[in-house]
Point group: C2
Chain length 735, copies 2
């Protein structure tokens, strides 16, 4: 029996005529078609989805967020266990088979965090976040002090150098101005990339320590009204955050590539390459002003000038600071929640996930994602209660330890890689689920159309438009970078479709895609959000600024659940491989052009990859065509499942077993976080970075790994074409 017969008890005619042509041509979906669904299945799916969308509600979301933000629940603390238990119980109450899965990880907690300016005058710094009468949470003594997770302990006194955002380009400009940070304390503002990259660069340039601060021009009063009178960071707000070198590998620093179970072999901390080596701490804008007012030396370049009321200088000058950090490192517990709604086809998983640990209260990050996930879970549970049975199994994951470095998700993926690779069709992530009304998504190119399709069927609360149309409108009007979060706004898509970004790093999709090759999507609604990783990211903030009606958390639950239903119930999982191949041809061509600019040998080295990319496009087109031909007639169930697994496994062909040069944990040849760009994705990272470093030996190796990966994927697509042709031929009434 084929997949459809498992529901209807009849043979399923697999018709892909609607699926791939739509995906290829980019035509808008017509009202009576859904990618991946056979026409006569569409009506039932629409009814199911409509029923689903009617269930999530704002009152539930609000109550859940109130519960989730009722205490600080940093990973490694008992509050994190309590949160996990509550979530497990919630999913159980929805009808899920929910379990807590426990690992441990090498995790710090701050024992002492001291900073003072010692010259030209003595001033105590490291001031705490201000309490506001409007919001009792802001005086909660349980909130952890400002610290950067995975900073080493240390103590030093040194002059200060201002390094702007502390990026590669900033250090180059610093050098051209004749200033370096050797032996100095570097002070960098947050923004323009992952803080772990700032720490790595400060370390590489010989800084004695690093201070990170929030400049009002980036997410504070220069941008807009500040908390509690607006959504932006007040002068006392501190951005906590990990500086783990997740660009090297995420997860428990002592167990790269294996799950940190009790018996796992562990590295000595000194051997862990994702651990920073120089003391690093975050401060608020008011403390930064005291230091920067005294930094002295040359004037900072004009675009290094931030929003503090002073003229920025580079230093070194008069200002000298004394920093003392004592960090308590221990193996601490992680509590992942895995909640499963078993389907008829229990060997095919559609996965959703977000983390539950928070730096403090975590209303937007991650609570708003969790409320959406809970409402999606509750609604799916209700459907089951009303008689529905999922076709494929739906798995909802609530991760612990994300904030420290994707700990919970990485350990779980490392523990379950083989099973995941044989079963998971897709992983859909959300993190800062709702910080405002602007829909934003990143996805593999094969999955972009699914996100577009689903958002055409969900209403946008504020505008009355469909989410898709509100998204398009926002993409067309909004300017460059978003303030307040580490994310970049996705550039408008030249095709006129709503734009989706590439998957970088910074949340739990990373181990799924980069380590296990599971096709992934990351979703959120964004907005004016300046309280990231501060005590102010709490219920009051969400209720007054982020999502006062909680309707966007409902909309996010609808989008998440709709994707689960599309992938869970589809007759053929709606991956768009021709679109994927086309994007890859462009990306490989970009790298080919860069290589050619280096020289003839480099050009020759990249040529096979170019051919392989063209080959991949041809294979994707053939597979698409074969699936399209396989139409309107029943297909045997075993052949159908075989096609499903083959489709899901194409992504794994892009993994190189040896990983990227210098960072073997990262297996994906096409996507990784940039070694020096942080959150943002690097496409074809091995080749890309080899060319940037002008490292010909690495380029040869990476180009060859890329070519092999593209050829493997072509072969898998060719297999799919053959499978489809076989299925076509073996049909009782084959034509």
């Amino acid at each position: 029996m084929n997949r459809f017969s498992r529901r209807l008890g009849v043979l399923l005619p697999v018709t892909c005529a609607l699926l791939f042509p739509l995906a290829i041509s980019g035509d808008p979906q017509t009202a009576d078609a859904i990618s991946g669904f056979f026409p006569f299945h569409v009506e039932a799916e629409r009814q199911l989805e409509a029923k689903f969308r009617g269930i999530p509600d704002a009152t539930h979301a609000e109550n859940n967020l109130r519960r989730l933000t009722s205490e600080p629940h940093m990973s490694g603390t008992d509050a994190s266990r309590r949160t996990a238990e509550w979530l497990r119980d919630q999913y159980r109450s929805f009808g899920f088979d929910a379990q807590i899965v426990t690992y441990t990880a090498w995790m710090p907690q701050p024992r002492e965090v001291k900073l003072e300016m010692t010259k030209p005058t003595r001033e105590r710094l490291a001031s705490p976040e201000t309490s506001f009468d409007e919001d009792a949470s802001t005086s909660d003594a349980r909130a952890v002090v400002g610290f950067n997770a995975y900073s080493p302990s240390g103590e030093m006194t040194a002059p200060v150098v201002y390094v702007n955002y502390g990026t590669v380009e900033d250090y180059q400009q610093l050098a051209s101005l004749g200033v370096d940070v050797k032996g100095k304390v570097a002070i960098a503002r947050y923004g323009q990339g992952y803080r772990g990259i700032k720490a790595k660069l400060a370390e590489e340039h010989g800084a004695a320590a690093l201070i990170l601060y929030s400049d009002p021009a980036d997410d504070g009063r220069t941008v807009g009204n500040t908390y509690p009178y607006g959504p932006w960071r007040p002068m006392s707000g501190i951005q906590r955050g990990s500086i783990m070198y997740t660009q090297q590998y995420p997860g428990d620093p002592l167990t790269p590539g294996v799950a940190s179970t009790p018996g796992a072999k562990r590295l000595a901390p000194a051997d862990a390459t994702n651990l920073p080596r120089i003391p690093t701490m975050p401060i608020n804008a008011q403390d930064a002003a005291v230091i920067l007012e005294n930094v002295g030396g040359k004037n900072a370049p004009r675009d290094w000038q931030g929003g503090l009321p002073l003229t920025y200088h580079i230093g070194p000058g008069e200002a000298q600071v004394h920093m003392k950090l004592v960090m308590d490192y221990q193996e601490r517990p992680l509590y992942d929640v895995i909640a499963t709604l078993h389907g008829t086809s229990d060997d095919e998983w559609v996965m959703l996930g977000n983390h539950h640990d928070a730096w403090v209260f975590g209303a937007a990050d991650p609570g708003s994602g969790t409320t959406a996930m809970l409402e999606a879970g509750r609604a799916l549970g209700e459907l089951v209660r009303s008689g529905w049975k999922p076709h494929r199994t739906i798995v909802i994951c609530q991760w612990d330890g994300e904030e420290f470095g994707l700990l919970g998700s990485t350990e779980w993926v490392e523990a379950n890689r083989a099973e995941l690779q044989s079963k998971a069709l897709i992983y859909v992530n959300t993190d800062v689920g709702v910080s405002g009304p602007n829909f934003s998504a990143s996805a593999l190119p094969s999955l972009k159309d699914v996100v577009r399709d689903v958002t055409r069927d969900v209403n946008d609360p504020n505008t009355g438009l469909r989410v898709y149309d509100a998204w398009l409108r926002y993409a067309a009007t909004a300017d460059g970078e978003e303030h307040g979060t580490a994310r970049q706004k996705v550039a408008a898509d030249s095709s006129g479709k709503a734009p989706l970004g590439a998957l970088g790093a910074g949340s739990d999709f990373c181990p799924f895609l980069d380590y296990a090759g599971i096709p992934a999507i990351d979703l959120s609604f964004t907005g004016d959000y300046g309280v990231y990783h501060s005590i102010y990211d709490d219920f009051y903030w969400m209720k007054h600024f982020g999502d006062p009606t909680f309707n966007y958390q409902v909309a996010l639950a609808q989008v998440l659940g709709m994707i689960a239903l599309r992938f869970g119930e589809a007759d053929i999982p709606p991956y768009n491989f021709p679109a994927y191949a086309l994007e890859l041809e462009h990306s490989v061509t970009d790298q080919f052009v860069r290589a050619s600019a280096m020289g003839r040998a480099e050009e020759d080295t990249m040529e096979p990859a170019l051919d392989a990319a063209a080959h991949l496009s041809a294979s994707a087109a053939r597979a698409s065509q074969a699936l399209r031909t396989l139409a309107a007639e029943p297909v045997d169930a075993s052949e159908s499942i075989q096609i499903d697994h083959a489709l899901a496994a194409v992504e794994q062909a892009f993994l190189a077993p040896e990983g990227l040069t210098g960072r073997p944990w990262f297996k994906h040849t096409l996507y990784a976080p940039g070694s020096y760009t942080g959150y943002s994705a690097e496409v074809i990272p091995g080749v890309n970075e080899a060319i940037t470093r002008k490292d010909f030996a690495t380029l040869r190796r990476e180009a060859s790994a890329l070519t092999d990966a593209l050829m493997r994927a072509s072969a898998r697509l060719d297999d799919i074409a053959r499978l489809a042709q076989q299925a076509e031929l073996s049909k009782p009434s084959g034509h």
Copy 2:
């Protein structure tokens, strides 16, 4: 006898072969040629110029600046008379025939300037400029308080609305945000145009009063170190300045178009259309912060956010201010200094000028221009003492009352228009002569090459390059707008030549060009200059920041004097009419395209002007060709003088006797200050503004005036061609 024979006692062969071809082709000047000079005259001119360049020196400039900045010398005060007398005596001591010419003008002085915030809390504002121990001048009690000249007296209490720079676009954006200033006090930051335009727009939009302030993002600590530790405006610094509607007409408000001599007929002040009608005052950044912190209402658009440590709002909200201004208006005296160095050809004037009045000490504005002018004058005097006699007469003017609204120059030009139009070949202005090391110039298109040529022969003190090459380099590297002054940086020239701007308004060249049609140039060296119109623009500022060695004041003296010598001694005055005509063709085409976009009738209306511009180009080419042919043979002196006068008078052909629509004082059809853009030049202003206003009737009138002007100029160039041909034919050995 021709002009050269007057020196050498022989007939001069007038060869223009070198002159016009160079100007047309844009070839670099070769070492042994000078535009406008017959080859055998070049060597003598070079020797003369070299001798001239050797005379100006930094010590003289420094001593003169110390004298000029020894007391505040605002126009209308006795100190202004003392400055004029000292200057007259200086020029007399150099050998000039120097006189003080006196006019009066209707001028205000502040009696009472009060500002306080009355809601939400009571705060006294209008705080004075801070005194610094480093610089005794900053505690000089004679400095006038911060005020805007030509504000009416008045008193009101009203809520505040923030209008960003207070430009046309800002009021449009304000309207789109549903806010207006009717009955409110508008607060605008300085920058992006003339403050008189801000006052006019606030008045037109119904504001009860206007506050102007200096935002640190525009010329203060956001941009760089502040006085006395750097060249930028400290938080207490106030930009004084006139808000006279000089875009309507400059000069004494009561005597437009006639000299304000004792017997002149005067308007009632209520009838003067260049007098603002709403109370306006300037404040410093620290007072502005108090108000803006309390303005309330909607958040300002992101690009309205300045550099104060607060989130900018539009209002109206809580903030309410009480303003009281009492201005003492009287007929006050003006003391222009006119210093003449009589040449052999005393009916041909080469004119240089800058003003001597200052808001307070005026080291950069105008003292640095005055020291340069004095050194140029002293050097010319020395040449005379050593036996040289100028060919054409050189006139140096030191104007009074520029700061109030070009009073001294306008009255003098109005008094002497007929003589000027028959005698003046060129007027070369400088104002803020030196505020840094970057050469900058504006000029009529016919005069741009002269400026380029001269700067190829003057050394740039800092770089060791020629001024021309340093200028090119700066133009290529520097970014957009200059901070700190009202001037805009000139955009790079697409031809690869050093770029010169168009002449707008804001200094004393305006009556010469716009009212009398005298070809003009404006010159300066610019730089980091944040103390404009404040008490801090003093000797200490210049000695520490603007021009510590005084070498740029020497370089400016050299450039000024070299232009005087090139125009004074040239065998044919080196106007480049083909280049002028080419620029005009472009400008007329631009307006034609704009008119076409309005409709067919508008296009038809502009077509004759397009034809006339093409005609002008043809005439310019023919005149140039005829002058080129007139080569290598002596020309009769009377014919030669006739050609000189004809060349100088071409510019006057562009004047329309009736003036521009709505502002009849402005006679020039090609250049005027923009009615709503202020300092920056509006090219073809009548047509341009009619199209902007979509005023077809005015467009018809202005297009016709433009066409007539272009045709008149063509006719004059055709006359020149004929004169040259006649001169050629009348040569003893005509070929």
